[in-house]
Symmetry: D2
Subunit: 98 residues, 4 copies
């Protein structure tokens, strides 16, 4: 319940279009395996899907810094900014490591 009501707003359509494309990429990778496509070509597609997921994640993080982190920085309670930033840093770390 720490999070304020959240809205992706006008970027929602863009994220969903990108995620639908990634879903299609993963389905295509499955079909490549089904059809015994040469492994190196399958790996190229996996790297592309992984990269596309990362771009969505970086976009969401950017939104998060502009929305939640900026709001928290303006909050009268400094612990609120502390918490929100610790949470953002942990999310960045998971992304860098995954």
């Amino acid at each position: 319940m720490a999070a304020p009501p959240y809205r992706y707003g006008q970027r929602k359509d863009d994220y969903q279009a990108r995620l639908r494309r990634i879903e299609g990429q993963v389905r295509g990778i499955s079909r490549m395996v089904e059809g015994d496509t040469y492994c190196i070509d399958v790996l190229t597609q996996i790297a592309a899907a992984k990269r596309a997921l990362e771009k969505v994640a970086v976009g969401l993080l950017d939104d998060h810094l502009r929305g939640c982190v900026t709001d928290a920085a303006r909050d009268d309670d400094p612990r609120r900014a502390d918490e929100i930033i610790a949470e953002a840093t942990a999310a960045i770390e998971r992304l860098v490591r995954s």
Copy 2:
């Protein structure tokens, strides 16, 4: 045409089951955005999907080393092993960078 006929054999079902699961994860991420789920939770799911894709890629690479690279190493023509290994290294590099 450099690649020999390729078969994923008994591991095909496993790869396809894993890719189907990843496809479901991506669809779930899209629904989270649709429902305005808190960004940090969406990022956690993206990191998990990315990690699952990486595991499929590492599995395919392992198969590739056991199959194509091993065959090429035993080939009478040393250029064959050279080519196959250069190709595998490039795929590993794309994966490490993506």
Copy 3:
């Protein structure tokens, strides 16, 4: 000149101690190569040094969000927050990709 005067303050010693340790790790890797250490063991040390660099980077990013980004969010000029966040996002993206 966009950046405000910058101080790592009390965390400076911690960062420098960690960077000195990483420098020692890289020197150790060079000695392993010099001594013809088995490649897989060298790779394990490279992965460890890379991970240690990432941890320093995530720490610096956390400081940056607490310092510069928070300050910019409180600035009267909204373009200031915009710029600072775009810059932070680009740095996160370079880190996720590298």
Copy 4:
């Protein structure tokens, strides 16, 4: 004792020159922190050092596939290739994840 005698041969000088350069990069990063350089610029240098380490690792892996993995593939004992490839795959996975 599983590993055969190992030699980096003519590439040893190249690896050591690159590692020395990375050591210098890390020392430079430490000096940037010492001099309170703007965090984003420090992060750019960390991403560059991380990338340089990855390139050394990919080079070592390429040598390893050409040397140890190729030798093991030609060995009369198939368990030898099995072991060496499992070990290479684990090293690749650590690298992809780190």
